[in-house]
Symmetry: C2
Subunit: 315 residues, 2 copies
């Protein structure tokens, strides 16, 4: 199992794959940050759209992004695979390779795990990271700026392109982002000691921003102009190829694993996309100068009915 995951030791890992459990020596003076994420066939992905290596990659990234949202540096991982009979050895190798590629990209080796048979493919990844002082969702303050690192909406546009069988050059980047989303490791590390609150964008920018607003007891106001400037042409062109507006795609697209933070001052690698106010809920300062409430909306995996129709109100 170790070789398949490209497993190697990480700093402080004294026993890795092959014993009952991994043994780690935690770095002194740092907190541990710990998360688990599961990606299940038919719920979070469909094998028709993703090769097994992509499935392995995405699951790892989803977990790693949680650590970055807390300001942590990923440290090491355990991987638990549930493998159906119709996955052959090459598929399993590819799945583990995808995990190993993500682990290398994130700098967080797989040091152990678990293999099990099952009727349905699922990949559960648990990661430990370390941080001097973790950033929670709860600390946003009125007058904080709202800061974003990474793309929003592209991965969802890629999923829609696959669902609707739309093929266009403008959608190729989007499909790639759906298959191989990127963890904002360095941006995440810059949050520690600087951001008052942060969250990663896994369910859609609007939905995750509302979680941060509710947890902090504040209102979040997006600036549509700043948001579109941050996203640039890639999202506009992908949205146009789908016959939709870029703002809608930016607000409801999930699984890009961007990082959203509330901070008094700027943070390297983050663009300003709005601000925090006293009050509750989520608002959009539109290009036209008006202000509209944004209802909670986002990315219910494949259940495009409710989320999309709500979203169209702000489109």
């Amino acid at each position: 199992m170790g070789a398949r995951f490209g497993a190697r030791s990480a700093d402080g890992v004294t026993i890795g794959i092959g014993d009952d459990a991994a043994v780690l020596r935690p770095p002194e003076g740092r907190e541990l940050v710990w998360t688990v994420d599961a990606q299940v066939d038919g719920q979070h992905f469909r094998r028709a759209w993703l090769g097994p290596a992509d499935v392995g990659w995405r699951s790892f990234v989803a977990a790693a992004s949680d650590l970055s949202a807390m300001g942590a540096t990923p440290w090491c991982a355990l991987s638990s695979l549930c493998l159906p009979d119709d996955l052959d050895d090459d598929d399993i190798d590819a799945l583990c390779r995808g995990q190993a590629e993500a682990a290398a990209a994130v700098g967080c080796p797989v040091v152990g795990g678990n293999l099990s048979r099952g009727a349905e493919l699922s990949v559960t990844t648990t990661l430990l990271g370390t941080v001097t002082a973790a950033v929670a969702r709860t600390g946003a303050r009125a007058d904080d700026g709202l800061w974003l690192a990474g793309e929003v909406g592209l991965a969802r546009a890629g999923l829609l392109a696959l669902e609707r069988r739309v093929v266009a050059v403008a959608l190729e980047v989007a499909v790639d982002r759906f298959r191989r989303p990127v963890v904002r490791v360095e941006a995440g590390e810059r949050l520690a000691g600087r951001a008052h609150a942060a969250i990663d964008v896994s369910d859609g920018l609007a939905r995750d921003a509302l979680q941060l607003a509710d947890a902090s007891g504040v209102a979040v106001v997006f600036d549509e102009r700043e948001l579109l400037d941050h996203m640039g042409d890639a999202l506009s062109e992908a949205a146009a190829a789908l016959g939709e507006g870029a703002s809608l795609r930016a607000l409801v697209g999930g699984e890009d694993y961007a990082l959203l933070a509330a901070s008094a001052g700027p943070i390297d690698g983050f663009s300003r996309v709005g601000h925090v106010e006293p009050g509750r809920g989520l608002w959009l300062q539109t290009l036209g100068g008006g202000r509209s409430p944004i209802e909670a909306c986002g990315f219910d995996h494949f259940a495009s009915g409710g989320g999309e129709s709500t979203d169209r109100q702000q489109g």
Copy 2:
């Protein structure tokens, strides 16, 4: 989610359920021990035999036992549940209650987790423990005694009773052990600084002992008399009710989560069941005074063909 798991804080847990990840302050001067275990419907259990609370309990115990096998004290847990549509709210509550009951029994609260839909029920539990010096599988030495804490064979006898629909008073304890196996937390803690090697008995005593022997590069010799003395009447009576020998059931029964250790001297709470020699493989010093090789045999979940027929050679 937090309330369902009976979640509460543990020492050093600064952020629990409700944020992107849990935040922990590791105790100074101790190593961390980290494991993940998955229990999948149809592979590790059948819902006809186990209520949802039992499913939650067993998954937690399987992971916790890995920590005890390393000499560690369980610290805290993350629970990842994959829930099919035919599980109603009461079932989900019961599943989480089973996890919470096991967490309380082990002294290791669930501080976070993940919920997902899926076609098949699975429960993946990851646990962190702490230890002054972890005990690996690799350190057994010739002339060490072989020491056992906890029951072996009873859980498997309980599973066979359910599979074969055998009802007998002598099997009630066995069925209970299958449904609610016990983690040897205190016995595990006594291994640290004392045992040269240890493993938990999840796949069957013979199979797990062979893993320890192979990892340490030694031969392991069980003493049938000592083994039967350790097990006492409960296993003899359960085996008799199944029409089988107690030694067979002791050697091939898995999922009791006993602890097997190699140590120069006795360890509180452990019984001597054999010794370690130079050489390779696994041997049984029989009641009759002879010595037989024991082939690798154990508990392939529900695949009773290979394991059982091999086992019969030593029965």
